[in-house]
C-alpha cells in the first residue's frame, strides 16, 4: 500500500483533517458570535472583550501550539510524558486548594486564575494522561500480560479521574474512562483482564445508579454533590421527592425538578424548533430571549444554538466534520510508525469522540447533562487549546508515520 516511491509525493500532513478542523473553527467563531451578541451591551463591548474574538485568538494560540508540537517527534515528547503527567496531577491537586483554584462563581473549583486567563487543569490533564498511558502501554505486549502492569495502567487512569471528580467535574472525569479503556484494548491487554474490568465497572455502575436513584434518605448514599445527583435524577426521570414525603415537599421537589430540567428542556426546544433548515444565523430566538441560559449558550450548549439556527442540515454538517476528524484519526492510528503513535492516536480519537457524543447527546437528552465542552466549537481557552494540541499530536503521528 505504501510504495516507497509513491511516498515521495505523499503529503506530509493529513490535509482532509485540517479542512474539517478549519470548518469547525469557522463554525465555532460564527456561532459564538451568534450566541453572545444578543444585546446592545454585548455589541458595544470592546472587541477584545467579545467572546467570538477571544475564541479566534485562542484558535490562533492553539494552532501555534499544535504546529510547535508537530515540529518535535512524538517519540521525543513521549520521553517526557511521565513528567508531564505528574505535573498535571500536581495542577489537579493545586486546583482543589482554595485561593489557588477558583470557582468562577460556580459551585465547582475547576480553574486556576493565571491573571490573563483561567486555566482549567482538567483539560491539560486529559492530554497528559493520554501521553502517559500511551507511553506506559507502548512497552512490549508481553509485559502487558503481567497483572502488575495492568494495575499500574489502571492506576494511571484512576488517579486523574478521582482528582477531577473531586473538583467536581463529573463529565471531564468520566471521559477519561472510555479513553483509557480503548487505549488498554488497542494496546493488546489480554481480553481476560478487560472483561473483568468491564464486569467490575458494570457492577459498580449499577450499584452507583441504584444507590443514587433509589436509596431513601437516611441510608448510606454515595457522596455526590447535590446538583450531580439531581442531574442524574432528571435524566432518569426519577422524582426528587422521597416516597414518604408530604404533598408540600413533593410539590417543592417537583418545582425543583422543573428548574433543574430547565436547561435540557430549553436545549431540546432549541434543537427541535430549528427543524430541517433552521432559522438562519443569528436568528435563533432561544438565545436572544435568554431561554437558553446566557452562561451556557456559547459554552456547553453551543450545539443547540447551531441546531436551532441551522437546523438538521447544520447538525449533519457538524457531525460530518467530526466524523472526518475522527475517522482520519483512526487512519492515522493505523498508519502510525509504532505502538506509541497508534495508542496516542487512539487516545486522542476516543477522547474527542467521547466529548462529541456526550455533549451532543445531552442536547437531545440521550445522555445526562454533564458540563463538558464540544471540542473546538464551545467557547473556552483551555478546551480549544487542549483540542488543538491533541489534533497536533495526531498530525505529529501522521508526519512521522510508517515508511516515511
Amino acid at each position: 500500500m505504501f510504495d516507497p516511491i509513491l511516498n515521495e509525493r505523499q503529503p506530509r500532513i493529513d490535509r482532509l483533517q485540517l479542512v474539517a478542523l478549519a470548518g469547525l473553527m469557522f463554525l465555532g467563531a460564527a456561532f459564538i458570535y451568534s450566541a453572545t451578541m444578543v444585546n446592545e451591551t454585548a455589541q458595544s463591548a470592546a472587541l477584545y472583550n467579545q467572546m467570538w474574538f477571544r475564541q479566534i485568538v485562542w484558535y490562533g494560540i492553539g494552532l501555534a501550539a499544535a504546529v510547535t508540537v508537530c515540529f518535535l517527534d512524538y517519540r521525543s515528547i513521549a520521553r517526557w510524558s511521565m513528567v508531564i503527567y505528574w505535573l498535571s496531577i500536581l495542577s489537579l491537586v493545586a486546583v482543589l486548594i482554595p485561593h489557588i483554584g477558583s470557582t468562577n462563581g460556580s459551585g465547582a473549583r475547576r480553574w486556576i486564575d493565571l491573571g490573563f486567563f483561567n486555566l482549567q487543569p482538567s483539560e491539560t490533564a486529559k492530554l497528559a494522561f493520554i501521553f502517559a498511558l500511551a507511553h506506559f502501554l507502548s512497552r512490549p505486549v508481553e509485559e502487558l500480560w503481567l497483572v502488575r502492569n495492568f494495575w499500574k495502567a489502571i492506576g494511571l487512569v484512576v488517579l486523574p479521574f478521582l482528582l477531577i471528580m473531586k473538583e467536581p467535574d463529573l463529565g471531564s472525569a468520566l471521559v477519561l474512562l472510555p479513553t483509557g479503556f480503548m487505549m488498554l484494548f488497542c494496546a493488546g491487554t489480554p481480553k481476560k483482564y478487560l472483561f473483568r474490568l468491564v464486569g467490575g465497572l458494570g457492577i459498580l455502575t449499577v450499584f452507583f445508579l441504584v444507590n443514587v436513584l433509589f436509596t431513601p434518605p437516611g441510608w448510606w448514599q454515595i457522596r455526590l454533590e447535590n446538583y450531580q445527583r439531581q442531574r442524574l435524577l432528571v435524566y432518569f426521570g426519577v422524582d426528587f421527592a422521597p416516597k414518604n414525603a408530604t404533598a408540600e415537599e413533593k410539590k417543592a421537589a417537583r418545582d425543583e425538578q422543573n428548574r433543574k430540567s430547565y436547561q435540557v428542556r430549553q436545549a431540546m426546544i432549541s434543537v427541535g424548533s430549528g427543524g430541517f433548515w433552521g432559522k438562519g444565523w443569528h436568528k435563533g430566538s432561544q438565545t436572544a430571549l435568554k431561554f437558553l441560559p446566557a452562561g451556557a449558550a456559547h459554552n456547553d450548549f453551543i450545539f443547540s444554538v447551531i441546531a436551532e439556527e441551522e437546523g438538521f442540515v447544520g447538525s449533519i454538517i457538524v457531525l460530518t466534520l467530526y466524523a472526518v476528524i475522527l475517522f482520519s484519526g483512526i487512519r492515522i492510528a493505523g498508519q502510525a510508525r509504532d505502538r506509541l503513535g497508534k495508542l496516542l492516536s487512539v487516545g486522542v480519537v476516543t477522547l474527542l469522540f467521547s466529548h462529541v457524543f456526550v455533549n451532543i447527546g445531552m442536547n437531545i437528552r440521550i445522555v445526562p447533562v454533564t458540563g463538558i465542552p464540544l471540542p473546538l466549537l464551545s467557547y473556552g481557552g483551555s478546551s480549544v487549546l487542549g483540542s488543538l494540541i491533541a489534533l497536533g499530536v495526531l498530525q505529529n503521528v501522521y508526519i512521522y508515520r510508517k515508511g516515511y
Partner: protein, 674 residues
C-alpha cells in the same frame, strides 16, 4: 468512502474503534433527525407558547348620535397610571443586592493565605437556601414596586395601596402587562403626574377608552348602557393570555346594535423573554372600529318631551312615558320614560345605595315599551272605527241611561253588571260620545257590531304583537285572538274591551303607532329608531347604511270617510269646550298651524279583590289636523285623569314641536316633516 476505510482495516482493534465511533455518530444522527425533523413541529409549538403572549385589544366602540349628528353616546379617554415592570429590572437587582445578608468573616483560610497578601477580615455574603433566595427576590421586587407606588401616591397626593399578594399575583400571571396603579385620574392629577413623573422610573400614563353619555339621563332608556365583557366574539380566537377591558351592550340600543357598535377586537402579541418580561409587541390582527349609529331621535324634542313628562302634576318622581313619532315615516322623534337614570353610572360603577335607589324606582324600566298598560278610553277610537266600518251611523243618537244610584252620571247594564259612565245621561252621537268618552255609547255600539269586528280591527293595528326593537325592553302587550274569543268569552268581556279594559294591554309605543295610523290615512308603520349606520371614519369606499323610511307593516283598509269622522271627533276633544282635553288646550296659541286631535284615557287598575288601586292615565294624539305630521302619546301611572294629567304634558310636547319647527325654519333644515 474515504473516511470509512478503517472499517475494512485488518487491525481488529482499530476496526472495533471505528465501528464504535460509527455507531455512536449514527445514534446522534438518528436522535437529531428524530428531534429536528420528526418532532420539529412539537418543539416549535413549545417555543411559541413560551415566548408569545397574546392580548385581546378591543375596538373603539361606535358613537350613537341623534338625527342631526349630536353625540348621545361616545368614548371618553380615561387616564390610568401603570407601572412597566420590565423597566425596573435593574432596580430589582440593586434592591436584591442591598437586601442580601452579609457577614463579616475573620479569615479561616489556610495558613499560607497571609503569604499571598490575603486579608484576615472581609465581608462575605451569607449562604442562603433556594427558598430564602426566592423569598428575598420577591421582597426586593415588591420593595421596588411599592416604592414607585408610594412616590406616585405622594405626587398625586392621593392614598394608594399595593398589597404584596396583588403584586405577586400580577408578577406571576401577567408580567408582560404593566401593573395598574391608579385608574381614571382627573385632569389635575394628570397635570401633576406629567410634571413630576420623570423621577419615577417605569411609571407611565396610559389611555383607556370609556363609554360616556354626555347628556346623562337624556334618552337613557333608549340608549341603554354597557357592562364589562371581555369574551371573544364568534369566530375570534378564544385563547388569549390577557384581555384588555371591553364592554358589550347590556340593554337598549347599545344592546340591539351591539354587533355594529362594538366592531371587532384585534390581537396583539407580546414577545417575552425567559423571565416573562416584555421584549416587543406585534399586532397580529388590527381592530375593526365599530360603526356610528344615527338615531331618528331629535335631541331637542327628546329633551322637551322629558321636561314635559317631568312637569306632570303628579307626585314626584313621575312614573310615565311619552313617545313622539313622525306619522309619515315612522321615525321616533322622542321616546321618554320616567323615572330615569344615568347610564354613566352603570359604566363607571356606582355605590350599592345608588343602585338600590334605581331598583326601588324601577327606573331602569323603559315604560314606553317594556310594561303592559291597560289603554282605557284611548282604545275607543279603534272600537269606533270598527263600528263605523260595520255600518254604524255616526249621526245616530244613543241615549245614555242615568245610573240608578248616582243619577247625574250615566251607566250601562251588561247582563246583571253595571258599568259606570263618566258622561252624564242624555243623547249622544259619535262625536259627542267620543269627546265625553261615553262608556255606554261605545259598549252598546261595540256589542252590536260584535267583538270579532273589534278584535279584527285591533289586530290590524298589530296590538298584542311585539314590534321587535331588539332592545331587551319590549313587551308584546295583550290582545284577544280568535282562539281566546272562542272560550269563556262573554258579553261582559266585550263590554270591558270596548272601554279598553280587561283582556287588553298595550305599550305607549304601540299606541303611538295606532295614533299615527289614524293620522296618516290607515298605514300601520314600523317605528323607526335608527336612521343610518356610518363607519367612524368614512373612507372613499365606505358608505352609510340607511334604513328605509315609512316601512308599512299593515294597511287598515278602512274607508277614508270613517277615518275623517274619527279625526274630526278627536279634534273636537281639544277644541270643543265639552272635550276632555279642552281644558289643557284652551288658548292654544298655535290654533292655526297645529290643530291637535286627541283622545284621553283613564284606565282603572283593580286589585284581585276588585278595589281601585290606581289609574293609568293616557293621551293619544296627533297633529296638525289638516296634514298630520306628529303622533304623540303620553302615559302617566297613577295620574288623576287623562285630560287632567296627560293633556297638559302633551300640550308642552306640542309646544316643543312647534318651537323645533320654527328653529328649523330659521336654520333652513327639516326635521320631521318631509
Amino acid at each position: 468512502m474515504l473516511i470509512f476505510d478503517q472499517l475494512k482495516k485488518n487491525d481488529p482493534h482499530l476496526r472495533l474503534l471505528a465501528a464504535i465511533i460509527f455507531v455512536g455518530l449514527t445514534i446522534l444522527l438518528v436522535g437529531l433527525w428524530w428531534v429536528q425533523v420528526v418532532s420539529a413541529r412539537e418543539y416549535q409549538a413549545h417555543l411559541e407558547t413560551q415566548s408569545f403572549q397574546t392580548i385581546r385589544v378591543p375596538a373603539v366602540r361606535g358613537k350613537i348620535l341623534d338625527r342631526n349628528g349630536i353625540v348621545l353616546a361616545e368614548n371618553r379617554p380615561v387616564y390610568n397610571v401603570n407601572l412597566y415592570l420590565e423597566e425596573l429590572r435593574q432596580q430589582f437587582q440593586k434592591e436584591y443586592a442591598r437586601l442580601r445578608p452579609k457577614k463579616i468573616v475573620t479569615n479561616s483560610g489556610p495558613f499560607w493565605e497571609k503569604w499571598f497578601g490575603g486579608g484576615s477580615v472581609k465581608t462575605d455574603y451569607v449562604k442562603m437556601t433556594h427558598e430564602q433566595v426566592d423569598d428575598l427576590e420577591w421582597q426586593a421586587r415588591y420593595n421596588v414596586a411599592y416604592g414607585a407606588m408610594a412616590e406616585i401616591s405622594r405626587e398625586l397626593q392621593k392614598p394608594l395601596s399595593l398589597s404584596f399578594a396583588a403584586f405577586k399575583r400580577h408578577y406571576t400571571a401577567r408580567l408582560f402587562m404593566p401593573l395598574p396603579l391608579v385608574e381614571n385620574i382627573d385632569a389635575r392629577d394628570i397635570a401633576r403626574f406629567e410634571e413630576q413623573s420623570l423621577n419615577v422610573p417605569g411609571a407611565n400614563l396610559d389611555i383607556q377608552s370609556m363609554r360616556y353619555y354626555p347628556y346623562q339621563t337624556t334618552a337613557a332608556h333608549l340608549l341603554g348602557y354597557l357592562h364589562k365583557d371581555n369574551r371573544s366574539d364568534e369566530g375570534e380566537d378564544a385563547s388569549f393570555d390577557y384581555r384588555l377591558p371591553d364592554y358589550r351592550g347590556a340593554i337598549g340600543l347599545e344592546y340591539a346594535y351591539d354587533t355594529e357598535l362594538h366592531g371587532r377586537a384585534g390581537e396583539k402579541s407580546v414577545l417575552v423573554n425567559s423571565l416573562g418580561y416584555r421584549q416587543s409587541e406585534t399586532v397580529w390582527s388590527p381592530v375593526q372600529p365599530g360603526t356610528n349609529i344615527f338615531l331618528t331621535i331629535d335631541l331637542h324634542i327628546q329633551q322637551g318631551v322629558e321636561r314635559a313628562l317631568k312637569s306632570a302634576a303628579v307626585p314626584q318622581p313621575v312614573r310615565g312615558a311619552a313617545v313622539v313619532m313622525d306619522v309619515n315615516t315612522g321615525d321616533i322623534l322622542a321616546m321618554a320614560s320616567s323615572p330615569t337614570f344615568d347610564p354613566n353610572d352603570f359604566v363607571q360603577g356606582m355605590t350599592r345605595a345608588e343602585y338600590q335607589k334605581i331598583q326601588s324606582l324601577t327606573a331602569e324600566k323603559n315604560r314606553a315599551t317594556q310594561e303592559n298598560y291597560q289603554p282605557g278610553s284611548i282604545f275607543k277610537p279603534i272600537v269606533g272605527l270598527a263600528c263605523l266600518e260595520n255600518g254604524m251611523d255616526p249621526k245616530a243618537l244613543y241615549k245614555v241611561q242615568p245610573d240608578p244610584e248616582e243619577p247625574w252620571h250615566g251607566a250601562i247594564f251588561v247582563g246583571r253588571r253595571k258599568i259606570k259612565d263618566t258622561a252624564p245621561p242624555g243623547l249622544y252621537d259619535f262625536k259627542k260620545a267620543l269627546i265625553h268618552s261615553s262608556n255606554s255609547y261605545f259598549i252598546s255600539n261595540g256589542l252590536s257590531a260584535g267583538v270579532e269586528k273589534i278584535v279584527e280591527m285591533g289586530r290590524r293595528f298589530h296590538l298584542g304583537e311585539p314590534i321587535g326593537l331588539g332592545t331587551l325592553q319590549e313587551t308584546a302587550g295583550t290582545f284577544p285572538d280568535a282562539e281566546r274569543l272562542s272560550k269563556n268569552w262573554f258579553n261582559g268581556n266585550t263590554a270591558n274591551l270596548c272601554i279598553g279594559q280587561g283582556y287588553i294591554d298595550v305599550t305607549p309605543l304601540q299606541m303611538t303607532v295606532v295614533a299615527a295610523a289614524i293620522a296618516n290615512g290607515g298605514k300601520v308603520l314600523w317605528p323607526r329608531l335608527v336612521d343610518r349606520m356610518e363607519p367612524q371614519e368614512m373612507g372613499p369606499n365606505d358608505h352609510a347604511i340607511v334604513f328605509p323610511k315609512g316601512r308599512v307593516r299593515d294597511h287598515l283598509g278602512v274607508k277614508r270617510s270613517s277615518l275623517a269622522i274619527l279625526e274630526n271627533a278627536m279634534l273636537a276633544d281639544t277644541e270643543d269646550p265639552e272635550g276632555t282635553a279642552y281644558a289643557a288646550f284652551r288658548n292654544w296659541p298655535h290654533q292655526k298651524t297645529m290643530h291637535v286631535c286627541a283622545k284621553t284615557g283613564t284606565a282603572e287598575i283593580m286589585d284581585t279583590r276588585n278595589r281601585l288601586t290606581g289609574r293609568t292615565t293616557w293621551l293619544l294624539s296627533f297633529a296638525p289636523f289638516e296634514h298630520p305630521r306628529y303622533a304623540v302619546v303620553v302615559m302617566i301611572e297613577d295620574g288623576g285623569s287623562g285630560g287632567g294629567t296627560c293633556a297638559p304634558v302633551a300640550r308642552k310636547i306640542y309646544e316643543t314641536l312647534v318651537e323645533r319647527e320654527q328653529m328649523n325654519v330659521g336654520q333652513g333644515n327639516t326635521v320631521a316633516a318631509n
